[in-house]
């Protein structure tokens, strides 16, 4: 792994006299074949006149054949539509889940209840004991009971259920299944270790000034300015950097600016301007030595609804001159040396966290992979462009590395499936709070965190960089 590589000659070359007058050894940066496949997340014409019914219809149309096949394999019973359901008959139904939640914020309720209600408080979780699970197909809906974990499910997931309708019109679920992992194209065997560095949540422009040192250490480590020759040769194996969203801090989003009158804000500069300039300077250091993919996130200056479109080049006057700067869309997908990466900046995962009992980002990430859908809660509680032709968030091909950004902690897991299928799940921690990035080895699909600790108020140790396991 990476840390073994860099620990080979720990400090030895730094503690000795320079070998000769001229430059030390030059480490070639390994380059990778790269092909972006983000076309499906590009929004061409933007028409917001359509309703969201289309995206649910298209989702069900796309998922129905897959789920019918799974259901046939699993239970040998007829697959029924809700309209020709017979009471008491054991059967299987394919449909979209809807969870009716009392606590779900609803603008209509706030307006229609004419008691001048206070706005509902923001909560960490919007689930409650009175939630009801409902399955919808093209025409009807039915309430679900029985062996299905109500709190774990989220609105918008397409599943197949097995059971029977009771006399009171509710459906007793005995078992259910999800679309599960899609097919995967095998990944080529690589001859040497190559790494892709994933980082997210840089949080530039925040009020904490000390956050910059860790970031600078990260940049120096990647560009090979840190450590001795062993570490530098290790850094040369990092072939690509992927920044997964929230490059700017939440505090750059000035909520007052939109409500204040124009004449008061005319002379003030938006907080994002300074932060983007900082980002441009950081990116300049990176793109000068290796390719960098920049994904936008929740707080970045691009559109809010998924799929988020790439940040505009004109915001990076310094770094956009380099061809190594790739500004990408928010669900990100690309083939890096034959290894397929897919991931988001984390909005989909944190939204599911709010509307289900699942807490671990890694668990949610795995759940979305099994559901075969990147963002089931879009468009219900997550902003989403009103697609009508197809739902681009359905996974048609299984990625090799599936990640989500802005997680509270670093976690990773290797899932193995039939036919040698392997998926690495990574939750990329928020850098500004954890000072941690992670390195994915393209040869072995292993992943390890890289932490930077620096001076801080409660820490008297010297500034040190430790690349820990």
């Amino acid at each position: 792994m990476f840390s073994d590589l860099s620990a080979q000659k720990q400090g030895s070359s730094l503690l000795s006299r320079p070998a000769s007058e001229d430059q030390g050894p030059v480490f070639e940066r390994l380059s990778l074949a790269y092909s972006p496949c983000s076309e499906r997340y590009k929004v061409g014409e933007r028409s917001f006149t359509r309703q969201y019914a289309h995206i649910y219809a298209a989702r069900l149309m796309q998922m129905r054949p897959l789920l019918s096949e799974r259901a046939q394999q699993k239970w040998d019973v007829p697959i029924r539509k809700l309209c020709d359901l017979q009471t008491g008959e054991q059967c299987c139904i394919v449909g979209t889940l809807f969870k009716r939640m009392d606590l779900q914020p609803s603008i209509l309720r706030e307006i229609s209840d004419e008691h001048n209600l206070l706005p509902q408080p923001a909560r960490a979780k919007y689930i409650s004991d009175t939630d009801e699970l409902i399955l919808e197909d093209e025409l009807q809906r039915i309430k679900l009971e029985g062996r299905i974990d109500r709190d774990k499910c989220v609105t918008g997931s397409v599943i197949a259920i097995y059971g029977a309708e009771r006399n009171d019109g509710k459906f007793t679920v005995e078992d259910f299944c999800m679309a599960d992992l899609p097919l995967q194209t095998p990944r080529p065997a690589l001859s040497s270790d190559k790494f892709v560095l994933l980082a997210s949540g840089l949080g530039l422009g925040s009020s904490q000034a000390d956050s910059m040192l860790g970031l600078q250490l990260l940049v120096d480590m990647v560009t090979g300015q840190l450590g001795d020759q062993g570490e530098q040769s290790g850094a040369a194996t990092i072939s690509r950097v992927l920044l997964a969203g929230n490059l700017l801090s939440q505090s750059t989003q000035d909520k007052d600016a939109s409500t204040k009158p124009k004449y008061l804000t005319k002379k003030t500069q938006a907080g994002t301007v300074e932060a983007i300039r900082l980002l441009d300077e950081l990116l300049l250091q990176l793109v000068a030595s290796l390719p960098v993919d920049v994904m936008p996130g929740q707080y970045d200056p691009t559109n809010y609804t998924l799929p988020q479109q790439p940040l505009h080049r004109c915001m990076f006057p310094l770094s956009s001159a380099y061809p190594t700067l790739q500004l990408t869309s928010n669900p990100y997908t690309a083939n890096i040396d034959g290894v397929r990466f897919l991931g988001t900046s984390g909005q989909n995962v944190s939204d599911i966290q709010k509307y289900s009992s699942m807490d671990s980002h890694l668990e949610i990430l795995e759940e979305t992979l099994r559901l075969r859908h990147l963002a089931p809660t879009a468009p219900d509680t997550l902003g989403c462009y009103p697609f009508y032709q197809k739902d681009p968030f359905i996974l048609e091909e299984c990625p090799h590395v599936y990640f989500s950004g802005n997680a509270p902690t670093f976690e990773s897991k290797l899932i193995k499936g039939p036919d040698g299928l392997e998926v690495l799940l990574v939750t990329v921690p928020e850098f500004s709070s954890t000072q941690t990035a992670c390195l994915v080895n393209l040869r072995t699909l292993e992943c390890e965190p890289v932490s930077f600790s620096a001076f801080s108020a409660d820490d008297d140790d010297d500034s040190e960089m430790n690349i820990s396991h």
Binding site: T49, R50, Q51, A53, H54, A57, A58, M61, Q62, P65, E138, L139, Y388, Q389, K390
Partner: protein, 102 residues
């Protein structure tokens, strides 16, 4: 907490779109084609009837907000076998707004 503001319609005048009228025509079940009319009228009426039947077919998903052709193409894409006849009709009459409505 809340400042009193005027209605939104004071700054933005209520404008009714002309196509609303066309949209409403889509829904009511059309009366059987009148027998006494000229042939062209009957053919047109029959074709429109077929298109309305297509609109009402729930298997092909919701029909508001997209054109008939877009809806037909979506159904084709997802392997739902929409009738070829509809596509033919739409391609013949793609300039006629009554045939292609959204």
């Amino acid at each position: 907490m809340t400042t009193k503001r005027g209605l939104i319609t004071e700054s933005f005048k209520v404008v009714k779109k002309a196509r609303r009228g066309g949209k409403r025509e889509k829904r009511p079940t059309p009366s059987p084609p009148p027998q006494k009319e000229a042939d062209t009228g009957t053919v047109r009426e029959e074709e429109l009837q077929k298109l309305r039947q297509f609109d009402l077919d729930w298997r092909f998903g919701p029909c508001t907000g997209i054109s008939r052709l877009q809806r037909w193409e979506r159904a084709k894409l997802h392997g739902l076998n929409p009738p070829e006849e509809i596509r033919y009709l739409l391609s013949q009459t793609h300039t006629d707004p009554e045939y292609n409505l959204r």
